[in-house]
């Protein structure tokens, strides 16, 4: 049965987000992920203050050195401070997934809501197009798009976003289909709500949970994709550094400087791990709500 015992809440309008957030913060892993991601964003914003040195200052003489008191995480192939570059690269690690997933959301969310709620022929056609796009491997599609419009981080991430869009479309459509079966959508229609109102006021908040889960997972995947594309030479614009491009160069010289891959690799892997775990946590937390 329902939580009849739940105490009366103090009056005031509750929207759902803070509740989810509160639940996340009650979750042990959720708390860790949240703190980690917040820190990451802060580091990105305040990179100039956090970074000990100029990330672009080259010192060819002291290239490829291990950790020292001057360079805590050593130097790269042009003698630049790895720690500072990692800190600056956080900006890309934060930005790139947001750009990619942002585009995916912009394209996939409204269309998914529409197709899930309205069905019909247009929705079928949209589904077909999504299927077609989904049968092109993400990396391959990104490469093809980059081939068509040129490389660079923004294009690459937009390409990734474009590739994610049909995935998101499917998820949103599926969730919306479920939601549309629910009585409250009927109820909203039966009181004469416009389609737009039903979709935005009732469908959207209720597909938010799977959407957030997916966004979290996709952000992780966007980071991974950025790394892969960097490896293939389709990544950031130099002399900017991304974790992916740094890992690529470090991994290539891992025989000379075995230490070099560690800091970057860890940053990348741990962040992706956290994003994936965060997705799981959101899923758990929102599933709890349903069961309650």
């Amino acid at each position: 049965m329902t939580a009849i015992s739940a105490p009366l809440r103090r009056p005031g309008h509750w929207i759902r987000m803070p509740v989810t957030l509160r639940r996340i913060l009650h979750h042990r892993a959720g708390r860790f992920c949240f703190v980690f991601l917040t820190l990451l964003v802060l580091v990105a914003i305040f990179a100039p203050m956090v970074a000990p040195q100029d990330p672009y200052a080259q010192d060819l003489v002291s290239a490829m050195q291990g950790p020292s008191s001057k360079h805590w995480l050593g130097t790269d192939y042009l003698g630049r401070d790895v720690l500072s570059r990692l800190v600056y690269a956080t900006r890309i690690a934060v930005n790139a997934p947001i750009v990619a997933v942002g585009l995916a959301v912009v394209l996939g969310l409204p269309s998914g809501l529409y197709a899930g709620y309205r069905r019909g022929r247009v929705a079928d056609l949209m589904g077909r197009v999504a299927d077609a796009l989904l049968s092109i491997p993400p990396i391959v599609a990104a490469i093809a798009i980059v081939a068509a419009v040129g490389s660079g981080l923004t294009t690459t991430m937009l390409a990734i976003g474009l590739v994610f869009a049909p995935r998101l479309f499917r998820i949103v459509r599926g969730a919306t289909l479920n939601v549309a079966e629910e009585g409250y959508v009927d109820a909203a229609e039966s009181i004469g709500s416009s389609t737009a109102r039903v979709v935005w006021v009732h469908c959207l908040p209720n597909v938010l949970a799977p959407l957030l889960v997916q966004i979290s997972l996709m952000m992780g995947f966007a980071l991974l994709a950025e790394a892969s594309l960097s490896f293939l030479g389709l990544g950031v614009q130099l002399p900017q550094a991304s974790w992916g491009s740094m890992l690529k160069t470090a991994a290539e010289s891992q025989f000379q400087a075995p230490f070099a891959v560690l800091p970057t690799g860890l940053c990348l892997t741990v962040t992706i791990l956290v994003l994936n775990t965060f997705g799981d946590v959101i899923r758990d937390v929102t599933a709890d709500r349903k069961e309650a």
Binding site: S135, A148, G233, L247
Partner: protein
Amino acid sequence: MRSRLSHVGRRLAGAVGTVLLVSVVVFFLLQLAPGNAADIVVGEDATPQQLDIARAQLGLDRPLIVQYLNWLGGVVHGDFGDSLFTRRSVATGLWEAAPATLSITLLALLLAAVFGVAAGAAAGLGRETWVDRVVSLLATLGIAMPSFWVGLVLVSLFAFKLKWFPATGYAPISDGIGPWLSHIVLPCVALALALSAEVARQARGGVVDVMAKPYMLAARARGANGGWLVRRHVLRNAAIPVVTVFGLQAATLLGGVVVVEQVFAIPGLGSVAIAAVLRHDYPVVQAYVLMVAVVVVVINLIVDTSYGWINPKVRR
């Protein structure tokens, strides 16, 4: 029977439609590209007349839609045109590269199926035990590591330190099973890692879900337990999400192989594609993307049909 045939027929028609859509997307996407196929063909020192000749030869002076239809017409007959660079038939080029890629992906699929399912099922059955924790940790880690990094680590460990496998290259199966296998083991592992992790996660989730189903309660109430329960009730039912994952991951796998082929210098489809992309060798890129899409569509078709084998409800 008739309904079953028409069911398959409908699926097939849908698949063909999907592929056609992909062909449209691919063809027109690459039209956005800067530079012109003719520029590329004639190279640095060409005169404008030479450029015009090349354009006419490539049919680039005709309207786009005609170009598309011509291309599609060729494709239907297995003719993807000639590479702008090697002037060899695109189909031949891809055909030559296919075995390496296929070997790697298929073996990776197999590895992922075996290890992913085993680990995932073990974790799901021993939920909240140390097995579960270890598998979950490895699975999340497997998903979070870029495959090229995994590949390079594998190379340094197994090719240089232990000298068990060659670091690069591919030996066709005609060279013998031994050389073939030794060349593809490392790339397969690098490629399979993320997939196994995903499969393990799904398998675990599937098992956990199935364990909570009322029919499990009913089966246990009949006295079924232990291995009997797992074999007869759990695995079969948990297979559905796992098979789905294979369908969904087919595309990811074929994308991942591009990176892995670069790391291990394997002359597969991915290498051909990357080279073609970098050289703006459009006919090759188009054919490649289309081919991969067809493979993905076919895999999904197989997955769809295998549902019937697992889930009798879809069988009819």
